[in-house]
Structure formats: C-alpha cells, structure tokens
Symmetry: C2
Subunit: 233 residues, 2 copies
C-alpha cells in the first residue's frame, strides 16, 4: 500500500477568499492538471470553493468530482475517525494513479481540513503539495482599506468559536475568524472595548457587507464574517 499511494498526486489548493480573480495562476494550473476534484461539500454547487473557481474557469464543470463532506465537530475522537475515513477514500484514489485537486477556501494552512489529509498522505510516503491561496483576512483588510500590521505591530488570528474574553486586551491587531454562532457574543464583548472595530461578511462575494464599528455588526450575518480589531492610533 505504501508504494501504491505514490502512483497518484494530491494538490491541496487554496482558491482564495471569494473574489474569483484572487485565484492564483498556480491554483489554476494545478486544477487543470488534475483528474479529479475533491470537494468538502455535496452537491458541488453548494461548495463555496467550487463556486469561486467556476466563475474564472468554467471548464471545471467537465471535471470528475468527488464530494467528501467534512463533519463540523469539535470532539477529538469523532473528528479523527472522520478524518481517517476520508483519508482512506483519498488513499484509494491515489493508489489508482489519480492526480487529485482538494479545493479549500482561502489558504490550505489556515484552519483548513486539508491539513489533516496532507499529513496522513505524506506520512505514508505519498506525494502531496500545498498550493497557497490568499487568506480571507487579507481580502477583508483590502475591502476595509486598512493595514493589518505596520512597523512593530503584532497580528493575532483568533478562532472566535472558542473562548475569546482574554484576547480582548492583547496589543496589536486581532482578527477573529470562524465566529459562527458566537458572533453575537463577540459583538457584545467588543462593543465595550476602546479600539477600532471592523467586520466584513461574505468578503468578495455579491452579498459583501462592511461594518466600521461593533454596534452595527449584524450578528446573524454569516459564518463568513471576519472581525478585525485595531488599536486606536
């Protein structure tokens, strides 16, 4: 089996934050070279990464697609079990000699499920390559027209679905991602903080919304809301 996995190749491709023009030339090439697309959602029309790419590379519709939904769970054991199942599926496809393009939104090294699969494939001697993409927080800063960090400022990327109370006083810039159902709580916490608060929902998509203070953030807006907190100048 260890040798068989080397028959194929796996690309973990970041397709960027939402604007189809922010796909890189390399991502486009690797998708074209791939036999099969691996998507984390089913049907593929519901997959954000697929919808982003289709706008700039319509020929993707002719590609064979395999949807392997990743479960959105936090329990470590169940998560590992799910990853193991997904890995076995991908290993079988690699052993058949396929070149696979695993699509992720943003960048594959920033809170992407691709990381688990990459580690498992390379641990067995398989060929896997990460194709970097523009992370959502860079596009969010671009839409806001602000810097994430200047000079000696630190930049903290914080998953907001975990405990965030103690992060509020950190110096530098704080980027809260994946807030989901916790966005209302984060909004409430930030409304009493003496800082510049920004947020962007669905960045680069048709329904993009920009907020320039904590109070106006629509707490029901979207899973794809990124909040940026900067120290006052």
């Amino acid at each position: 089996m260890k040798q068989e996995i080397r028959r194929g190749k796996l690309y973990g491709i970041g397709v960027g934050p939402g604007d189809p023009e922010l796909v890189t030339i390399k991502a486009l090439r690797c998708m074209k070279e791939s036999d099969i697309l691996i998507l984390p959602s089913e049907p593929r029309e519901d997959c954000h990464a697929y919808r982003i790419v289709r706008q700039i590379y319509p020929e993707i519709e002719q590609k064979k697609t395999i949807s392997i939904p990743f479960p959105m769970i936090k329990e470590k054991e169940k998560l590992e079990e799910a990853h193991e199942k997904i890995f076995h599926r991908i290993r079988a496809l690699l052993a058949e000699g396929n070149t696979l393009a695993f699509l992720t939104i943003g960048d594959p090294t920033v809170y992407s499920t691709y990381g688990y699969i990459h580690r498992k494939v390379t641990a067995e001697g398989g060929m896997a390559e990460i194709i970097s993409g523009v992370p959502s927080f860079c596009a969010v800063a671009a839409a806001l027209g602000i810097s994430l960090g200047d000079g000696g400022e630190e930049i903290h990327v914080i998953p907001a679905s975990y405990d965030v109370a103690e992060t509020l006083n950190w110096r530098g810039t704080k980027i809260y991602m994946k807030s989901g159902k916790h966005l209302a709580e984060l909004k409430w916490l930030l409304s009493s903080v003496d800082a510049e608060v920004y947020a962007v929902s669905n960045c680069g998509m048709e329904n993009q919304k920009i907020y320039r203070d904590a109070v106006s953030i629509d707490a029901d807006s979207s899973y794809f809301t990124v909040v940026v907190v900067k120290e006052k100048e």
Copy 2:
C-alpha cells in the same frame, strides 16, 4: 488639488511571496491596466516584486517604471517625512491622470509601506484599491507541509526586529517575520524553547532553504527568513 487626484487611480498590488505562479489573476490584470509601475527599489532589476512578476509577465519590461525607494528607518518623524515626500510624488502622477501599480511582495496589508500611501491618497478623496496577495507565511507553511492553525489554535504574526522575549510563551503558532539582523538572537532564544521550530529562507525562490529546528537555522541567511514556532503535539 483634491479633485485633480481623482483623475488617476492607484492599485496597491501584492505579488505574493516569491513563486511567480502565486501571482493572482487580478494582480496580473491590474498591472496590465496600469500606465506606470511604482517600485520601492532602484534600479528596478533589484526590486524583488518586479523580479517575481517579470518571470510570469515578461511584457512588464515595456512598462514605464518610477522607483521610489522607501527608507528602512524606525524613527517616527523621519519616517513620516519620507512618506510625505513619496505621497507628493504619487499625488502628482495621479493628478496627471495616470493609473499606477504600486508593487509589494506578499500582501499589501501585512507590513507593507503601501499602507501609508493608501491612507494618504484616500484621505484626499483619491481612488486607491488594494489587490490582495499571498502573504509569505502561507507559502512558508506550504513549503514546510505544516498547518499554521487547526481548530482553536491562535496564529500570532510577530515582527522579529522588535522585542520578542515575552512572545515565546504565547500559546498557538508564532510566525516571526522581518527578523533581519535579529535572526541570530531569535535563533538563540528559540534553541531553549520546548516547541517545534521551523524556518524558511527565500521561500519560493531558487535559493530557498528549509530548516526544521532552531539550531540549524543559518543566522546570516537572509532578510527573507520566516520562522514558525508551533506547540508540540
């Protein structure tokens, strides 16, 4: 003057971390649409951003270029004075009706001098747009085959030319950028830390070097060395 500045348009373009294929489709389009390239180095052959782009877009050699070297200083007053001078030069070019492409390595919102110019141009009502790029730390993680953050892990981006001692115990992943002459000190500090230490010099370029522990890092390697510190699993 406030109306004149609106005759032109300024693009702040991130050309990514070094691999010419990591340039986005949007960056390429905006460069093609621009009348003049603004580069932070002189001569243009010494400019990293220019050298990255030329490999994927050779026609850039026919573009008119204006080199405006940014001073690498920390004193706030001198820095503001230098930025003011650069802004006046760019304002004059915009008032002539030019579309300008200001090139930066990585992403324009992550420790880029472009941010200052963007704020000054928009404050006077000028048209300026940030075109996001892949930040160097994403490409560094890709080259290493590691995740920067999974699940609830925080990611801290830290300018290493400032005091870093207190950052060593932060939980999550730490990314030390712009270490420059301080790389030797950082290496020494990290050699006694119980963590996974990685570094990549000149990521995506011909002379790329990968390090998988603190001791082996070449402290004289380069300004373009990014150090990543992850908690042990």
